[in-house]
């Protein structure tokens, strides 16, 4: 599981971060995240320790500019970054991080802007 390490990393960005949804008692600005995929390819000729995960981070704000700035902050926290992902034990070490996509949407019912980032992370644990 990469989710705990990723949470630890996101909380360093400086906004409230929650899995999947913003709880009712919290308001934007906030970050939600989810793991879309987390697996190790099945190989029978040897144990592979490198795992691959797809993680989506959504930055929510009532201001479009702030939502973009939050996404920029998340992105820049991963620029030139490799190694221990969240300061956890056993350590989660990111070997490779790539941005898969970035887009923005307006949620009309709540008036919240969302900037969605999807990151591909290859990592090892332990």
């Amino acid at each position: 599981m990469i989710v705990d390490a990723f949470y630890a990393r996101l909380s360093m960005v400086g906004y409230n971060a929650f899995p999947h949804v913003i709880p009712q008692e919290f308001d934007a600005p906030a970050i939600t995240y989810r793991v879309d995929q987390d697996n190790a390819p099945t190989e029978y000729d040897g144990t592979r320790t490198l795992k691959e995960a797809l993680v989506t981070v959504d930055c929510w704000s009532t201001s479009y500019l702030e939502a973009q700035q939050m996404a920029d902050a998340v992105e820049s926290s991963f620029v030139d970054y490799s190694g221990d992902l969240g300061g956890l034990s056993p350590a989660v070490s990111a070997n490779y991080i790539r941005k898969e996509r970035r887009f923005d949407l307006l949620e009309q019912a709540t008036g919240l802007y969302r900037v969605s980032l999807q990151l591909f992370i290859a990592y090892t644990r332990g």
Binding site: H20, V21, I22, Q24, A28, T32, R34, D36, Q37, T56, D58, W60, L105, E107, A109, T110, L112, R114, S116
Partner: protein
């Protein structure tokens, strides 16, 4: 995507030799045929409502909950068209775009505007409801199949056009 396939460069060169009119048409035809399994799988995976929902519902805040059967359909789209269960699935479409010189084509798979909720609300979720991705996992699962089919279809189209 095409660059990940072996032999695609050679096939593309052959297509270019056929000229933009024939080559472009063959390219688009191959791309459409290659994405057919992905379209079918996406149709099967698309979120669909039910005709009836049974459960405990309340008429409003403070009012007692009671077991009822609710028939939410037919609903309406934002344009006022009737919307029955499976509307998103029926409105899945592929759209192709040519590059200006007609030597490259991209095929987009998605829902029509009136079924936007299947992507905006279900696939990506909202701030208060968790996402239930259906299109992207389907595409990822079929990516290698699609690539293999693209190579095969390109080969067939080149042979057909060269005849």
């Amino acid at each position: 995507m095409a660059s990940e396939l072996k032999g695609v460069a050679e096939l593309s060169a052959k297509l270019r030799k056929l000229g933009p009119a024939i080559g472009g048409k063959a390219l688009r035809s191959a791309a459409f045929k290659a994405t057919t399994p992905a379209l079918q799988a996406a149709r099967a995976a698309a979120p669909a409502g039910r005709d009836e929902y049974s459960g405990e519902y309340s008429d409003g805040p403070g009012k007692p909950r009671r077991v009822r059967t609710v028939r939410p359909y037919p609903g309406k789209t934002y344009k006022g068209r009737l919307k029955m269960p499976g509307y998103a699935s029926r409105n899945l479409r592929r759209v192709s775009y040519f590059s200006p010189d007609r030597t490259a084509v991209s095929v987009h798979l998605g829902v029509r505007r009136e079924a936007f909720y299947a992507l905006s609300f279900v696939e990506f979720g909202t701030s208060r409801t968790p996402p239930r991705p259906w299109l992207e996992p389907t595409w990822r699962a079929l990516q290698s199949t699609t690539l293999a089919r693209l190579a095969e279809m390109l080969r067939r189209e080149v042979e057909k056009a060269a005849r």
